[in-house]
């Protein structure tokens, strides 16, 4: 699978998932017909994505974990329909997939934001004021640790050590480490992510 196609897919997917999700979260008075069309589009799209990823592994059930990881990395989370599709294609019972998906922390069964915020609250970062950083982020994004905002922009999580205690307090955004944070610096960093 070439890179461009994957990228194209991310765009398409998140956009549609966002639409679907706002539908779910706001009052559902909007025309039902439109709803259904959107739902069908998401279905088709995710199905295609899954089929492509499964084909990469020649449909082997032993590659289940890798397939799940791939879908997680492209789609940011694993919708229930996706699990059902994988179960069907690989002939692996859904209960086993559910066991695996809930076992590993790398998987999410709820929608995740495009940007993953990790705030270190380990001992070293804590004494250097990690709680203030966390408060700032919580206020700026309006979400608490472990949550995702409605626009699917940010997912916030606390971690216990990122292994660079000399740089604390540390905030990690999409794998990029922001060192020696202060509340002001934190809000500036957050603004750079749209």
């Amino acid at each position: 699978m070439d890179k461009d196609r994957i990228d194209g897919n991310i765009e398409l997917n998140t956009d549609q998932v966002i639409d679907g999700n706002i539908e779910l979260n706001t009052d559902q008075v909007i025309d039902r017909v439109i709803d259904r069309n959107i739902d069908q589009d998401i279905d088709q799209d995710i199905d295609q994505l899954i089929d492509r990823i499964i084909d990469n592994y020649h449909g082997q059930a032993s590659a289940l974990l890798q397939i799940l990881l791939d879908i997680q990395s492209v789609n940011n989370w694993l919708p229930g329909k996706a699990l059902a599709r994988i179960s069907e294609k690989l002939e692996v019972p859904l209960s086993r997939i559910q066991h695996i998906v809930t076992f590993y922390k790398a998987f999410s069964l709820v929608p995740k934001g495009r940007h993953k915020l990790h705030i270190c609250v380990g001992t070293a970062c804590h004494v250097r004021g990690a709680t203030r950083i966390l408060d700032t982020v919580e206020q700026a994004t309006g979400i608490k640790s472990g949550e995702t905002d409605l626009d699917l922009k940010f997912s916030l999580e606390t971690v216990n050590c990122l292994g660079c205690c000399a740089l604390g307090p540390v905030m990690e955004v999409d794998g990029k480490v922001h060192a020696k944070m202060s509340p002001i610096k934190t809000s500036k960093v957050l603004k750079t992510y749209g």
Binding site: A84, P93, L94, S95, R96, Q98, H99, T102, F103
Partner: protein, 213 residues
């Protein structure tokens, strides 16, 4: 098939290669308590109650008999002070989760376990895995499985499968030592099954009230 001879509780016992200590003991009518063992299922080693003391060349060690294959010239003790103490603790720990499970209460009496020793955390499931494994290995329906891990691990029905299969099967129900399985099923049925008819029928008395008859 080569025969293996060894000793359980001072008795000479013969077993076939590949058998477990528990299997050999059951054949000789030697009782070892278990909660997660089932004849038709693969050994699981979940409840640890079948723990026994094993002596090999003068060295003793503790093994779980339901997953330990028989060996030549081993000496197995199914009851000893140490074993009884370990089983007592296991029962007490399980009773923190399922205080009134009949099987556990019988065992508690036998081993003098105090069900109130540990702070109660009633999840009512002792993770014996009987339902999960039976549904996978015997019926092949896979309607129930484990989810999550560690202290949060629990059994969970897959509503889509359970709705189709469970009402006509329910073979796992009598296996559950705590009745939690039944509760989990009823809960899944109430919360997650798709309604069989689109409109819920109200009782006649309620209808009368609404229409003012």
């Amino acid at each position: 098939m080569s025969e293996i001879q060894f000793e359980i509780d001072g008795r000479q016992v013969k077993a076939v290669k590949g058998m477990t200590i528990l299997g050999a003991a059951r054949n000789e009518d030697i009782f070892i308590p278990t909660l997660c063992h089932h004849e038709e299922l693969e050994p699981f080693g979940g409840c640890r109650l079948c723990i026994v003391e094993l002596e090999v060349k003068g060295w003793t060690k503790l093994v779980v008999s339901c997953v330990y294959p028989v060996e030549k010239n081993i000496i197995v003790r199914t009851r000893s002070k140490k074993i009884d103490r370990i089983r007592k603790t296991i029962i007490e720990l399980l009773m923190a989760h399922a205080p009134f499970a009949p099987d556990l209460m019988v065992l508690a009496k036998e081993y003098g376990a105090d069900g109130d020793r540990y702070e109660k955390d009633p999840s009512f499931c002792i993770h014996c895995g009987l339902c999960v494994r039976y549904c996978d290995e015997v019926t092949g329906k896979n309607a129930v499985g484990f989810v999550d891990r560690g202290i949060n691990k629990e059994i969970s029905f897959i509503p889509e499968i359970a709705q189709k299969e469970c009402d006509d099967c329910k073979k796992c129900f009598p296996l559950c030592p705590t009745s939690y399985l039944q509760a989990a099923f009823v809960l899944t049925k109430a919360l997650a099954f798709a309604p069989s008819q689109p409109v819920l029928s109200e009782p006649e008395s309620f209808k009368k009230k609404v229409t003012g008859e």
